[in-house]
């Protein structure tokens, strides 16, 4: 489980990445953050942000409303570890 959750659901690109970067700003290396996004660009742009900033993209999980985990939103949870 991540240390910090950034809820960027409902926000359009590039805001999910900006919210994530703002949350990561003062956190120490090794911290894990997960950003929740309903904007499909985030699943591409968060890994790209990691590469540009020297962080690690841990993984991306797709959420589907009515799916097996009984979630109520469509989107992605992208987890990163700060470098």
């Amino acid at each position: 489980m991540s240390d910090t959750l950034v809820d960027a659901r409902g926000l359009r690109c590039p805001l999910p990445v900006i919210r994530l970067a703002a949350a990561a700003k003062d956190l120490p290396a090794g911290t894990e953050l997960t950003v929740l996004s309903t904007d499909p660009a985030a699943k591409h742009d968060v890994p790209a942000w990691c590469r540009m900033r020297g962080h690690e993209h841990v993984g991306t999980r797709e959420h589907r409303a009515g799916g097996s985990r009984d979630e109520d939103w469509d989107g992605w949870a992208v987890t990163v570890r700060l470098g």
Binding site: C13, P14, A21, D39, H44, D45, W49
Partner: protein
């Protein structure tokens, strides 16, 4: 519509404007305009009729196909005219795949092909035409009846080895690989992929819509689609060359011309051919001139903080440059540049009619937001490029300021 008279009659952008979005729809070459006017006078009749007017139109149409064939390195009878580039790609995929129904129905495609190719491939392969978006690589749509697109590297270059393996799989009807990607400029390994496809007995469709008129035409193809609107000819006409050895089956209702049911416009065809001859005549010089400008753009843009200059630095089209700015809203940046007189393209989601960003940028794994794409026309001057480079850093900074991203 502005009716101001610009200095160059071939360009009717408003004075003071700099148009840098010439990919797929460039201003007409001045000789294309002349040819169009001439063939309106001489070639307005239906070329299928037997009277003198019809025969005159037919002669212009034949001349157009002959001239296009000469540039493409094809026989005249191998060159077909279509209603446009998208129609060429749709028909090429459908007709070539239909002819190989016994071998299978799968169409192997690169991940950064044009949407028209991806959609036509999905339809030919038995998928629904409109369902879902265009998948990039690594998609998790577990329905594996058709092979996924062949992945690309960070530069957008298709993995030739993976594509060679894919074309050898059972059930493959056709392979499709673009000559160059029009969004990021990267040239594709069409030679190696054509060798592999030929060895497997699979025809290769090469989408050369972004490259013909700008770089030398490859000879590694079985079907080749080229786009007059991209080389300074008119829109509303397309070119599809099919080698005589390649079997195709018309997929629409019966028509005298299955590639363009009802026939094409002779003046458009003639203007397209004259434009192609004209751009080929000084292509090498134009290639070098624009390549130098694009190299300057890529180097200067790379100095702006937090930018990814995307596409292959060397194996690329000479006139296309693409870059993505971190923490920048693509729509806001296009609007900001437009306000300052510069028209540019973008692959960012917020500039498209859908939420999905460019499948090309996504497949490459580069930043999809804050994206700007420029394609230099033959008429684009060094001064216009310098003015763009002078304005761009400030425009990026203003958009970032609006989003309050300083220090991130």
């Amino acid at each position: 519509m502005s009716h101001a008279t610009p200095a160059d009659p071939a360009r009717s952008t408003t004075p003071g404007r700099v148009y840098l979005d010439n990919g797929g729809r460039a201003p007409w070459h001045p000789l294309a305009r002349q040819a169009f006017e001439q063939s309106l006078a001489d070639g307005w009749a239906d070329p299928r009729r037997l009277h003198a007017e019809g025969r005159r139109a037919a002669r212009l149409l034949d001349a157009a196909r002959e001239a296009i064939a000469a540039v493409l390195g094809a026989r005249t009878q191998e060159v077909h005219l279509t209603p446009g580039h998208t129609a060429s790609l749709h028909a090429a995929v459908a007709s070539a795949a239909a002819a190989r129904r016994r071998a299978g129905s799968a169409v192997v495609v690169g991940a950064v092909e044009r949407a028209a190719v991806l959609h036509a491939a999905r339809l030919a392969g038995g998928g629904s035409a409109g369902a879902g978006g265009v998948a990039g690589t690594g998609g998790s749509d577990g329905t594996a009846e058709a092979p996924g697109p062949v992945p690309v590297d960070r530069f957008g270059r298709v993995d030739a080895e993976a594509m060679a393996v894919a074309v050898r799989a059972p059930g493959v009807a056709l392979a499709a690989l673009q000559h160059a990607n029009g969004e990021v400029g990267t040239l594709q390994p069409v030679g190696a992929v054509h060798d592999a496809a030929r060895a497997a007995g699979v025809p290769l469709l090469v989408d050369a819509g972004a490259s013909v008129g700008h770089v030398a035409v490859p000879d590694a193809w079985d079907l080749l689609a080229a786009d007059p609107a991209d080389w300074g000819g008119p829109a509303g006409i397309g070119v599809l060359a099919v080698r005589q050895r390649v079997r195709t089956v018309p997929v629409g209702p019966e028509d005298e011309d299955p590639w363009a049911p009802g026939g094409v416009s002779v003046p458009l065809a003639f203007a397209a051919a004259v434009a192609l001859q004209a751009v080929e005549s000084d292509r090498v010089a134009q290639e070098a001139r624009r390549r130098a400008l694009v190299e300057r753009v890529r180097a200067e843009v790379a100095r702006i903080p937090d930018v990814e200059v995307v596409g292959d630095p060397d194996g690329r089209l000479p006139h296309v440059a693409t870059f993505s700015f971190l923490y920048v809203d693509g729509e806001a940046l296009v609007t900001e540049l437009d306000r300052h007189g510069f028209a540019v393209g973008s692959g960012s989601a917020c500039t498209a009619s859908t939420l999905e960003p460019s499948h090309v940028l996504a497949a490459m794994g580069v930043l999809t937001h804050g994206n700007v794409r420029i394609a230099l026309d033959r008429s684009t001057t060094a001064d216009e490029v310098e003015r763009f480079l002078a304005v761009l850093p400030g425009a990026v900074a203003r958009v970032r300021e609006m989003l309050g991203v300083g220090g991130l």
